[in-house]
């Protein structure tokens, strides 16, 4: 890859952020992690990432945030030219049915993780979503076989005519 695929975590509680980041640290060598404590900060981080010609592969977003809430932030991202392709996961201890429906319909939410989470759960969701992202974006699956869902990636290679040369 000639550019980086970032994981963005939006969470206002610093201890919780710390825990998520640590749970995902094994992804960090392939997918650098960026963090933001508010939706506004997240917005500017997203812009910076794309400005540096990198991209955001996955956004893990809390719902209850000071200022703009997580679902609204995700909905806004849908109008972002590039970040609309990012996989979006809501990680929250509290979001009403309304909010969740909104997030699914308007922000094309890809997954919902209820707090408290387990590392296995978080790992598998992140793996799955990043795998989907890489396949959707038609990146060379081989670069991600060792860290993401290798069977799914191999399957995507099978379906796309691969050639010897």
């Amino acid at each position: 890859m000639d550019h980086e695929i970032y994981i963005l975590i939006v969470e206002d509680e610093l201890e919780v952020m710390d825990a998520i980041v640590n749970d995902l640290s094994e992804f960090e060598d392939h997918f650098p992690i960026e963090t933001a404590n508010t939706a506004e900060e997240a917005q500017s981080v997203v812009d910076q990432i794309y400005h540096a010609n990198n991209e955001v592969g996955l956004i893990l977003c809390d719902h209850v945030l000071p200022g703009k809430n997580g679902v609204d932030f995700l909905i806004e991202l849908q109008s972002h030219d590039l970040a609309r392709n990012s996989k979006k996961v809501l990680v929250t201890g509290q979001a009403g049915l309304e909010d969740t429906i909104q997030a699914i319909n308007k922000a094309r939410l890809d997954h919902y993780i209820a707090k408290p989470w387990t590392k296995e759960q978080l790992d598998s969701v992140v793996k799955e979503q990043l795998t989907n992202y890489v396949i959707d974006r038609k990146y060379n699956p081989m670069e991600f076989m060792a860290i993401l869902d290798s069977v799914k990636l191999a399957e995507s290679m099978r379906a796309n005519p691969l050639t010897d040369n």
Binding site: D18, V21, P32, N69
Partner: protein, 474 residues
């Protein structure tokens, strides 16, 4: 005949008429008698006769459309019976029944004309009797009218009272429901608190023991030093982490993994010194891990303390059952309420400045409802990021003032005077926080405490609520 009155009394006239009857055989022919309960005429009949009652009594009653019967008049000797119908030619409005055996003169139309106009002896007494009858009836009418008026008045008063009673009933029913709600909540919280406090305590204790286990290294070991640094460090904001990551990359150019750089960024300067100091001796990963261990134990401690505090607040907040007045610091209740409502207040820009205030005798649980009502109202009207200020101060020696103000749309002028009225709401009746009955109840609670609450609009926009409570001992 008595002087001074235009009319002779009915009894005198009757005496005279009786005398004339005994003198005049023609008249005697007109005398009829009825037994008790005998009917003289019925309602709706056309009356060919007019009776002049000589002895006994007659009751006039009228049957209403709904079948009920109404007594209209009781006629005594000297009264004409059937006067209205006889004079107007209309059907009788009433039924005449003998109350006791009666004697009466029965006039046909011709007879009556004759006696009233031409009879030399009877003409005057008859005319006088006519007049007297008319006057009686008129007087009765006037009395009736005024009686009716009084009755109406009474009716109206009673209706008003009923209304008040009803609204009071409704009020107290709402209060009952509310109390019930709070009681249920209290029970729920008590159970919940017990269940949550146990694991929270276990967490807290475990983190302490973990700490001791980790510190069980020879003193001066860099690992235990960096562990202790970890124990005392709090997580940094993401912006800070970004900034420090850039610094760390310069400071530790030999570290390549981003995850390690991120972890290093969280370590304070003194930790970096230990790491640089140990570069040749202890691998950086081990020291970072040691720091992380300390930090995580710190996080566990902070988080479990938060759980314990939250439970404590919830418990004291919902203390409705034990609603005894006691000496309390108002600020405790306000802080509890802020904590309980933090999921909503989080979106606001809060400024809390609470001056030292003396304790006062109050019911904590009730006051919490007041704070909740006002804060929830503020959350409802304020946009995300709206400003909310909470202040406490003393005024003189005996007054505590709590003011809660915002920079929201303020209270409309037409609403302001009624804002503390029961059942007054500007928001849709719906699932709100569910603990407040609105400002009316707040008003009442404060009044019970001997204080008062007032709402106003601030000059530069936004609403302001002030609660003034007296300082007193229980």
């Amino acid at each position: 005949m008595q002087k001074g009155f235009l009319l002779n009394s009915r009894v005198d006239i009757l005496k005279f008429i009786n005398k004339v009857i005994s003198d005049t055989p023609d008249l005697q022919k007109l005398v009829v008698s009825f037994n008790e309960k005998e009917v003289l005429f019925k309602q709706g009949e056309n009356l060919p006769y007019l009776y002049l009652l000589l002895e006994g009594g007659v009751k006039l009653n009228r049957e209403n459309d709904d079948g009920s019967s109404l007594d209209i008049l009781t006629l005594e000797p000297g009264h004409f019976v059937g006067l209205v119908s006889f004079n107007t030619g209309n059907d009788s409005l009433t039924t005449a029944v003998a109350l006791k055996p009666i004697k009466a003169l029965r006039f046909s139309q011709d007879d009556f004309d004759e006696y009233l106009n031409n009879h030399p002896r009877l003409r005057h007494p008859m005319q006088q009797l006519m007049m007297s009858n008319m006057t009686d009836r008129l007087m009765g009418n006037v009395q009736l009218e005024s009686k009716m008026h009084a009755l109406n008045q009474k009716l109206e008063d009673e209706g008003e009272q009923l209304k008040i009673a009803y609204s009071k009933l409704e009020d107290s029913q709402q209060k009952l429901v509310h109390q019930e709600k709070m009681a249920t909540l209290g029970e729920l919280v008590a159970g919940f608190a017990h269940e949550v406090n146990n694991p929270a305590a276990a967490l807290l204790r475990s983190s302490e023991m973990l700490k001791e286990n980790f510190l069980d290294l020879p003193s001066g070991d860099p690992r235990s030093r960096i562990f202790e640094i970890g124990l005392n460090s709090s997580p940094l904001s993401s912006e800070m982490v970004r900034k420090r990551m850039l610094e760390v990359q310069k400071k530790f150019p030999y570290v390549k993994e981003r995850s390690i750089i991120r972890k290093l960024a969280q370590i304070p300067e003194e930790g970096h010194e230990v790491i640089i100091d140990q570069r040749k001796k202890t691998p950086i990963e081990i020291l970072v891990q040691q720091f992380e261990a300390g930090k995580f134990i710190h996080n566990i401690k902070v988080a479990s303390e938060r759980i314990a505090n939250l439970v404590k607040s919830l418990k004291s907040y919902s203390r409705q059952d034990n609603n005894e007045a006691e000496m309390i610091d108002l600020r405790d209740g306000i802080n509890d309420t802020i904590l309980i409502l933090s999921h909503r207040l989080k979106y606001l820009d809060m400024e809390v400045k609470m001056d030292e205030i003396p304790k006062t005798c109050a019911r904590l649980g009730e006051l919490n409802q007041v704070w909740t009502n006002i804060l929830v109202n503020a959350c409802d009207v304020l946009p995300d990021g709206g400003k909310l200020k909470i202040r406490t101060k003393t005024e003189g020696e005996y007054k505590i003032v709590v003011s809660i103000s915002d920079n929201g749309p303020g209270i409309p002028d037409d609403v302001l005077p009624r804002i503390f009225e029961p059942n007054f709401t500007t928001k849709n009746q719906g699932a709100q926080f569910g603990l407040g009955l609105g400002l009316a109840i707040s008003n009442e609670i404060i009044r019970h405490h001997g204080g008062f609450i007032r709402a106003s609009n601030r000059e530069n926009g936004g609403a302001k609520f002030e609660i003034i409570l007296p300082v007193k001992n229980c």
